[in-house]
Symmetry: D3
Subunit: 249 residues, 6 copies
């Protein structure tokens, strides 16, 4: 495997440069502009007191997410879903994945009857938009919770975050398992897997799909190894960014 070369010169387990611009939005309670190479996603967290009707009176909060791509975030312009008048299956699927991933590390009792809506808008797409979204969304979420404590919407000692969460895509490209696929790799991958992992290293989601040839159990094991290594790096970056000062409003 040593002589395998990826299109952009990365080693098999190497992620693209990842940056997180915390507090990018002047309006949202928490926000982050995250880049995985050329993939750029603006994540905002909107905090509102109160919960949807079906949750009222239970003393628990709610976290949900919406994902969307700008029409020209991709190489060819896509029609807007607002113009089509309906949301496509892929958008629904990713929005639900982001929401589940964040709820997995939230203590909804500690959140009280408050709602946080996460918006992940892809400004530029080059593979890995859903995993970048989850990773950036966690930072926006953490800042919105901090804001709520500072504003008195949550008790000073409330800690709704049970852990952190990050995600990466791994896959088999030309018989080789690699981490953090760029679009050009993703489009010709035989197997594509998105893995969502907590800061403690446990799995929140494992979604593996054979695009071409079905995959063997040994291949699955290698992919999971890569994913755990990459998400550990992302966890460290999230910690560093949140330890710094907010750039935003």
């Amino acid at each position: 495997m040593s002589e395998f070369t990826r299109a952009d010169g990365r080693t098999v387990g190497q992620m693209r440069p990842v940056t997180i611009e915390r507090g990018w939005s002047a309006q949202a309670e928490g926000s982050a502009l995250i880049s995985f190479g050329n993939t750029r996603v603006l994540c905002t967290a909107s905090f509102t007191p109160g919960v949807p009707r079906w949750l009222k009176g239970q003393g628990t909060g709610w976290v949900t997410a919406e994902y969307s791509m700008l029409p020209r975030s991709t190489n060819e312009r896509m029609q807007r879903e607002s113009v089509k008048g309906k949301i496509g299956g892929r958008t629904h699927e990713i929005s639900r994945l982001i929401g589940r991933s964040l709820r997995a590390i939230i203590d909804t009792k500690a959140l009280g009857e408050n709602t946080i809506v996460i918006d992940c808008d892809v400004l530029q797409a080059d593979g890995g938009t859903r995993t970048a979204s989850i990773t950036g969304a966690y930072v926006a979420l953490a800042d919105a919770i901090e804001w709520a404590r500072a504003e008195g919407h949550l008790p000073r000692k409330a800690q709704p975050l049970k852990d952190s969460v990050a995600a990466v895509s791994v896959g088999i490209v030309g018989s080789t398992a690699v981490s953090d696929l760029a679009y050009i790799e993703d489009s010709r991958a035989e197997t594509d897997m998105n893995v969502v992992v907590t800061g403690s290293g446990d799995f929140v989601e494992v979604q593996g799909t054979a695009e071409g040839v079905p995959f063997k159990r040994a291949e699955l094991d290698v992919l999971l190894d890569l994913a755990l290594a990459s998400t550990a790096e992302l966890t460290q970056l999230q910690r560093d960014v949140l330890a710094g000062e907010t750039a935003g409003a």
Copy 2:
């Protein structure tokens, strides 16, 4: 683990009674009414010469799927998606999963420029509707292909089926890994995983989700063992059913 008892008395790796009524529909080119216990899904395969516009002239066929639940297939009546005017995220997600699972075992070149649409309509729901759908859809698909050969829409020797495919849900319920979750188990599972496996025993899809506590790698391994055992049973049942005579039209 030996003293663990499931609500319906099954052992951890035991599936509910599975039956496949092949050729249930008098109209479709292939069909199967499949039951996993109280879960009943009507799967039909509609064969049409020609392909969607974006595939024309490439000499390859197309297989796609749509999943839906009757409004009173569930314990409480749900509103119809046709009445709401839009398809929900869960429906989209499952339709896409069924379609991908079937395409994984199809040689689209051998299918020629023909389209097969699979419809999986849940008549009664008690957990595992998507895995029952995939397992039943394969039988309907195989019969539609046989029909197309008999009618001369495909060459006598064409074999678009590269393998068979079946699926099962596995999960961790009360700290124990079990196979083929009924609704009551599914609703309180800590981890829920849908696994789609070819007749040869390779993975097409692995979708594991932590509903409560994130899961550890060792748990993932036990779940995959259960899934491979159950799908091997389903594969054998599919073979037996397809070796028999068609009941239908």
Copy 3:
């Protein structure tokens, strides 16, 4: 008229074999799988305490119905209305007809502030789907009311059913009036009439349409005679079925 032969050998006033499988669904409060020959409709009745907002506080109940066809219930696959994003005119028309037919034999005062929603889903279509729906829906409705009494949602002596109701299609095919048209007859009928009749033999709905040549009053009279004879048979079958034991949950 004696030597006229129908495609399937029936006499002019003879219905196709009619069967009603009562209690087919394990989930619904009342259900029936009805067949008029190859036409098969699953009818479920969902009982819910309470009424829509516009009826609140008036002490009366509500019965409504929804009709739908599975995409491959017909000879050529139809697009799903949930995918189109809207319900077609024919579906609306039939849903409204079923609802009106059932309300005609319901004493809404005796039903109290409760709602019953009838779903008629056509699993297989070969003509007469709307009349089979009405006939089967009555059985599901009767069982849901019985269930509500047993569960204490209605007083023991409440009798919201004022009568029974059944329906048949009649028409003029090749100058001859016939009853219970199969699809092949319906598609070339000059006049098509759906007649909904109470157990007492009075009319609830008479909907006659000239598909080709306008019809004369004498023809209308013959058609009504046929319809009354056939619905009397259906009424008897409903009674027999409801006098038996429930097969269902």
Copy 4:
């Protein structure tokens, strides 16, 4: 029956004043503003060479209709269907009825591959909007066909009209059968029937509905007598109007 008095003093078989203003629209190929008392409907006929795709190359024409009510045509303002984003069941039902009624008197071969779209827009509603629509639509249709002949879109001798068509509502109000129900009568009718009749006196549509008590066969007979008498009057008025000069463009 002689001493029965209707709210507006009419006898049981008497229609409200009916007027037809032919050629009301300066734009349409045929048009009529028809009044049945306070009910006023603007009917336009739009002639276009060519037919919908599914009819191409068969040498036959197409006639279809759309019905709609202005939001404040009724006593209380209704929401626009364009604002709701979907067309209701009642609108669909009436549009389809108007279309079928007109096609019953059209020789589509003689129409050639041309399309006529009828629009019936209710400007003011006081009962009988669907029957006024059909009656006025015939006049607009006849003028559009005349226009097409004059403009050379149809051969000079082509006669696509096989007959004329008119419609009236009849019903049982307070145990008495009456013709041409105004809204106040319609809202408390026990049985309501819309009858569409050709100029020759044959039936195109008979749609009777028991709103309260199911109706007996003898009642049905009386209602049909009234309907035939009233539609004969309407047929005569249509002839008189079409024999005059066009007021319109």
Copy 5:
């Protein structure tokens, strides 16, 4: 400029014949059928006690408007927006313009917590439909307010009308500025401007658009002069009409 001749012989500042038929509708609280030449718009005003939820408890009323064109109001039939399932941009834009124009002359405090909905339905279109709509809507609005005072929904001395409002289109056609463009002029205008003016001669809206060549400040000034002259005429007509007796219900 003296020898310039418009297609219909008018001088540059001359409007087409304008008529207002007040009280055209028997149902609405206020109504007017207004004509600017061949352009005919039915304007109704619907008065309802109460306000939308977001205004409740503030002691102020609400006035809003909806604009629509009948499908065959134009020279070629347009598809209905209810059939398309959505309202187009132009319709939205004009509805919002009419609403803003009327609210500009309404004292919402004096209106109390009441709502008036204006509907402007174009029966026939020949240019200037939005300006005719505003001008006619004012008359309907004034009558609805008078009705509300007479019925006791408003105090006898309440005067929610602060002023009157009227509108005209002006434009540059073939280098010449003209008033009240008919469709044939509008379609080849270089600049098109809609001007909404109060009875006192102040501006409510000025919307000028260069269709071809951008316009110069001097041209803008000439167009405004024309608009002020024409709207002064319309204001006088509105006063005359409202001083007369209501024709309507």
Copy 6:
């Protein structure tokens, strides 16, 4: 007027800091991230050979625009229009305005049968989003045309740009006319006017609206003076930016 102070210390005619980051997107043929103070809009231009069906074969090109706001671009989160399933009136209105403004300076013959779609997505909103959109869109458009020439989609000497275009909002706030209103000024403006001006100083659009008190002609004149001065500044900035090197792809 000299002692009047704006909330952010600006003089009446002073714009907020305006920056244009050219080539922000790596995917689009032309792009610009424009800021008017805290208002930030991402403008992309997508060039595609070919035109919509209704323009084919006429030898002319097409330029159109779509505007949208991210859900949390505003101070309170708005629901996505894709989730609502329809585009609101304001969005339609602004999309149409941007498209018209750009087409006013395009020679569609010189563009050949090519289409350019402009997307203006508001990342952060603080007043003036539509005027910032137009101003930034021009830069993206100019770069897309330059790209098309470089790639050979347009002849080397083709110049589809007849002029440049820029826009500003002006308004009367507390009796004083000011330029480039921030959200806090806009929300309490008595009159609000958006003015679109070519590089040569002629008007493309003038849209003035009285939000409170109708405005007088003298006020209109002052507002136009301010608008011409501010757009002249924007024109200069566009020239400077386009004279520099592209930062983007």
